[in-house]
Symmetry: C2
Subunit: 169 residues, 2 copies
């Protein structure tokens, strides 16, 4: 099946995706009732969406607090500008234990990393590991006091004008 590209859905696909993004732990029957489609049809569409890469996977959403991982920090990382190494540095940052997200950004800061650990000792280790990476110049961290919204979801961002652009192709 073809790779994922923009605009390969109909309204039914979008509704189906909206149902399952937040909770895939539902029976085909529930979806069947909700969308007025036979169970087989739901299954058929789900398969297509998986094979086309729209559904990248099915994952378990774990509670960090159950593991004592309740300390989060956002770290800005500036690198020395000998161009070309940036990708490697990003990969190294992502490999540091406790680092959950890494973004390469425009501007003077270069990288933003979000990490999650159990306590200050581990947070210090994370930052030390970052500073130890070849090419890292400076870091600046802020503690997160409240995660108002994490677990990024796509479908809430797909609405109105976004959907319009998707369906008109």
């Amino acid at each position: 099946m073809a790779q994922a590209k923009v605009g390969d859905f109909d309204e039914m696909d979008l509704e189906l995706l909206r149902c399952i993004e937040a909770d895939f732990d539902v029976s085909l029957e529930t979806l069947s009732d909700e969308l007025d489609l036979s169970k087989s049809a739901i299954h058929y569409r789900l398969n297509n969406l998986k094979e086309s890469g729209v559904i990248r996977g099915v994952t378990a959403d774990l509670d960090p607090v159950s593991f004592g991982l309740d300390m989060v920090a956002i770290t800005e990382v500036a690198v020395t500008h000998e161009q070309g190494y940036s990708e490697d540095i990003g990969t190294s940052l992502a490999a540091v234990e406790g680092v959950e997200q890494v973004y390469y950004t425009m501007g003077d800061v270069d990288f933003v990393a979000i990490s999650r650990v159990q306590d200050r000792t581990q947070m210090n280790e994370v930052i030390e590991d970052m500073v130890a990476i070849d090419g890292v110049n400076e870091t600046s961290s802020r503690f997160v006091m409240d995660e108002i919204k994490s677990d990024p979801q796509i479908m809430p961002s797909v609405s109105d004008d976004v959907e319009a652009q998707l369906l008109e192709e």
Copy 2:
């Protein structure tokens, strides 16, 4: 069943969680083979982990690029300090269409938001919506050129010293 708290796992639980966090689209039989446990036992443990809240849910991981959502920005939001409204402001930020993550942080910046849209027009709308929120003082955005690591996962952060603290209780 009791609520999630730290330290309610054994090594088998941790291995099981490591298997399913990245890919829950596997059969019980595969897990059974991998962990040398009967299918019923796997099912039993999965149920416990769900009921105790360690597994918060099962979600479909969608590819943003398939929806044309390939523009990401990190926005720092400073608020006017009339104390008490901060939670509301955070909720309002999270409700803006296109905003995926919102963190309330220590320091002079107050909030960090990560948003994902299709194009610059939509990005402008997001930022306008943020500025329009009562109590928001100033915003500063950077474009993300590369998402080196997103889709935060917990289990990679649970290792060595973290696991040690979990199992010794």
